[in-house]
Symmetry: C2
Subunit: 158 residues, 2 copies
């Protein structure tokens, strides 16, 4: 059952979209189930809300603003995940959805173990170029520490 | 044609053997052709023959010995590649074989481009643990610089 259950983490970047095409195609090689995952990067939120706090607005307001922005982001993510679920189910694969907070590579590796997936399929580069340059890409760290096979789909040359 | 033509580099390590099982299984996802590659690491040969030269034997003899060892290694590699070719053909895939000298990740990336492969499938760790610790693993460098998707099969936990 080498390709039976695939963990597909997405940050909705172009590269992740491209990786999904490979996931769908793997049905022919025995894929039955996809674990569709989005990790909301807690470090990203911290940076963003610090940005708000430093913008000169009243702190109490920015705290409210922060909560509102987070709620909007969460609603948006859930909507996108539902759309992707429908898209993947359309090719005849079973889909479970997980939206979690954390440090992406850690959560991805944890879910890979918890769900006992056959393979992790992901894009080589996410949305946050700056974060990736500072911290290394999520895919690099997933590949390094994963016990399971990893399919890395590279981004298109710019 | 996401999985049509796969570049499968092997150093005959356990991890590479494991990766081959994934390659065979990808036939169901549209794989038709496998480019089976072994790169004889020129740095490895240098180390080995320097070892012979430093062993205290006559230099002229060690030069002859070096040639002889290299020829034996090459014959052995060709035999192994032929066996693998037969094994891959047995599942109904077309196979072309390449045995080249060079620095493995560079040759792998070059062949990936020259052969316009859809995917590179390889083991995460090769035979030479010491070389990998010094220089980084071949798979790391292939993933970093490849324009094409890479399937990395991790070695079994030790």
């Amino acid at each position: 059952m080498m390709f039976r259950k695939i963990l597909y983490p997405t940050d909705f970047s172009d590269c992740a979209v491209k990786a999904l095409e490979y996931v769908k195609k793997l049905k022919g090689a025995g894929t039955e189930e996809v674990v569709l995952v989005h990790v909301m990067d807690v470090r990203g939120i911290a940076t963003m809300t610090t940005g708000v706090a430093w913008s000169g607005e009243a702190t109490a307001l920015s705290y409210e603003g922060e909560r509102e922005v987070q709620e909007m982001m969460r609603a948006n993510i859930e909507k996108k995940l539902e759309e992707l679920k429908t898209e993947i189910e359309a090719v005849g694969l079973k889909v479970s959805v997980k939206a979690v907070d954390g440090i992406p590579f850690r959560e991805i590796l944890k879910i890979a173990e918890d769900e006992d997936v056959s393979l992790i399929a992901l894009g080589s580069h996410g949305k946050s170029n700056i974060m990736e340059k500072l911290l290394g890409s999520v895919s690099e760290k997933v590949i390094r520490d994963s016990k399971r096979p990893v399919l890395v789909v590279k981004r298109d040359p710019i």
